[in-house]
Amino acid sequence: MEEEYDVIVLGTGLTECVLSGVFSVEGKKVLHVDRNDYYGGESASLNLTQLYRKFRDGAEPPAEFGRDRDYNVDLIPKFMMANEELVRVLTHTDVTRYLEFKQVDGSYVYRDGRISKVPSNEFEAVSTPLVGLFEKRRLKKFLEFVQKWKDDDPSTHQGVDLDRMQAIDMFKKFGLEAGTQDFIGHAMALYTDDEFLYSPAREMYDRIILYVSSVARYGKSPYIYPMYGLGELPQGFARLSAIYGGTYMLDKPVDEILYDDNGKFRGIRSGEECAYAKMVVGDPSYFPDKVKPVGRVIRAICLLEKPIPQTGDLSSVQIIIPQKQLGRKHDIYIACVSSTHSVCAKGYYLAIVSTVVETDIPEKEILPALKLLGPITEKFVSVSNVTVPLEDGTTDNVYISKSYDASSHFVSIYQDIRDIYKRATGKELVIKRRPRQEEEQATLGSA
């Protein structure tokens, strides 16, 4: 460990592992440390023993739940959108080789006490029970408009300027009702609150396109999910980093962050050992005095023995409860996966309910969502601070990731990865396609 590196990375969450992989591929000398004896940090997937260690003071998991090894329980619920940027990073870095993905079977939205499939194109809009007969035509027109839009072809614009018109006015232009606006904004554009209504419609347009094109890719929902849980993602990028020379140390406490006389990062101390580098990238838990809380998220991991009612016995599903439906300010998400995804023993389902905390009794806030799940066999609830770094890192060379928010996909995580990379290197992050292995082998052979 006593050595000089280019970058020290603390914590093996997804953000840290992607950056570690990128830095190693670039030829930087990376030391990657985690205090836990498992990969993933806050975004890990845990087995039963680890789960009970975390939530039940190390109590013995009930024998009827099955084998430890059958469980990979996500701490942070997310699905990956088939067309989102992170997927491109996975394919370009060849990390997909280590992973196996399954399509998520359905994407549902809650409205007036029942849940229905989210219409994702003009054809589904015509048949959705979510909106009335006349509204259907308006919804269909709106979706057609969005899909036909071309930036450089004014004939597709119908007088709309995406960069100036607010989202709310775009809805009004198509005469869409509040309820329809609600599910477009929350179930398709995946906004977690209503602030978007008063911003330029461009971002909403981009988000709807991401949703629709992701659905178009595999058919049933916009989402895909890795076998063995989301914890496979950081592990995959960690392997990428290691293959390019990154050094990995798990189960290694970080006792002190060392700074030079000017307050710039110098290294880390673990016990008697120190390692040095010009910069550090890490998750907020390693820098408690350099981050501030901006909110809290509640997550309830629920073990079920039956699929969620009203979803047609799907083995994986997302349900969004838009805030207005419950008189809240933030949506509640339910993400359900099952033994089909090798995340729990056969016959079980894992549903995670999550939302931004708005009151002093967060558990009460999610009750309406828990009710949708049917009988709950076991439940693990956590409330965590969402933090952001106090500074951007350019003065002390300490680049801290944001903690995982309540969103249902990885868009904000990838945004943070790009931001950190740019702050740390001064360059835009460009993920190039890796040379093929044949080419590498040829290079090695001739060297």
Binding site: M1, E2, E3, K29, L31, Y39, R69, A82, V87, R88, L90, T91, D94, T96, R97, Y98, L99, E100, F101, K102, Q103, V104, D105, R217, Y218, G219, K220, I224, Y228, E232, Q235, G236, A238, R239, A242, I243, Y244, G245, T247, Y248, M249, L250, D251, K252, S315, S316, T340, H341, R433, R434, P435, R436, Q437, E438, E440, Q441, A442, L444, G445, A447
Partner: protein
């Protein structure tokens, strides 16, 4: 060879894709064993295998073609930081120790335990005592593996099998390499009997090899190929491949879909160069 893997493979049968993982303490010769098996080469002070996710090597066995997809640890074993993903879905594992270092056998045993706890239930595990070339010929134990092609060993530095020897921040493996550099022969610390007895007790295949001379190396992979439940593997991969759109949760193939012309699951990238000298069985 690498240009059209599919057509060249159809000479007899569709190759059976087998994931094989290497395990063992740092500097026991894991990468060198693979290099010997896949390219019939040996490099003293082998360069780190930068950028290779895994190498593939075909092995013909009677009427079957087994395509080994061989995963190296990428140095993550050094500080006991190997991700569980590594041995996920492995059909076979080669757990390597150094016959001149008793401690490396102890480490191998803990890897075997870990595999039996975490890996596929029917994973085929081979325990391999490597670096026979370091042992004075007179002290070599009973040979179990047939000698294949013995190339003349180049004298000089002994192998320092590190994924990244120059990056090793620890003293353990670093000093190991330095120490062995000026020693020609070393006393054997693990006898064949000892290795065999443990392997028998734990239900493993047992081999002794020299990646440097090539002795016994092919045999490891041939015997593993013989023991693999190939019918099961084949039927499972066919099931996955034929999973239709209406079969519950559907597997998706990111690589194919994104049009890079290379597929992930099912028929993984044919990355091997130098595939000319596969198993000659």
């Amino acid at each position: 060879m690498s240009a059209s893997p599919e057509t060249s493979a159809t000479l007899t049968a569709k190759p059976i894709q087998v994931k094989l993982v290497l395990l063992g303490e740092a500097a026991v010769g894991k990468s060198s064993l693979v290099l010997r098996f896949s390219s019939n080469e040996f490099q003293d002070n082998k360069e780190p295998t930068i950028g290779a996710a895994f190498v593939t090597q075909k092995c013909r066995l009677e009427d079957k073609v087994i395509k080994f997809e061989i995963w190296d640890t990428a140095g993550q074993e050094r500080f006991y930081s190997l991700a569980p993903m590594y041995y996920r879905n492995a059909h076979a594992a080669v757990v390597v120790f150094d016959v001149t270092r008793a401690s490396s056998l102890e480490r191998a045993k803990s890897w075997v335990k870990e595999l039996q706890r975490q890996a596929n239930l029917n994973v085929v595990i081979a325990l391999v005592g490597n670096k026979l070339d370091l042992v004075r010929p007179s002290s070599t134990g009973v040979e179990t593996a047939g000698e294949e092609e013995v190339t003349s060993p180049e004298q000089g530095e002994t192998e320092a099998e590190d994924m990244n020897p120059d990056k090793s921040p620890s003293s353990e493996s670093g000093s190991e390499g330095a120490e062995s550099a000026n020693v020609e022969y070393r006393p054997r610390q693990v006898t064949t009997e000892e290795g065999e007895a443990y392997a028998a007790e734990a239900g493993l295949l047992y081999f002794e090899t020299s990646a440097k001379t090539g002795e016994g190396v092919q045999q490891v992979f041939i015997e593993i190929a013989k023991k693999l439940p190939t019918d099961q593997i084949l039927s499972k991969s066919q099931r996955t491949a034929s999973a239709g759109l209406n079969s519950g949760s559907v597997n998706v193939n990111l690589v194919n879909e994104s049009g890079f012309g290379r597929s992930g699951q099912g028929n993984t990238a044919d990355g091997t160069a130098n595939a000319g000298n596969g198993c000659a069985c």
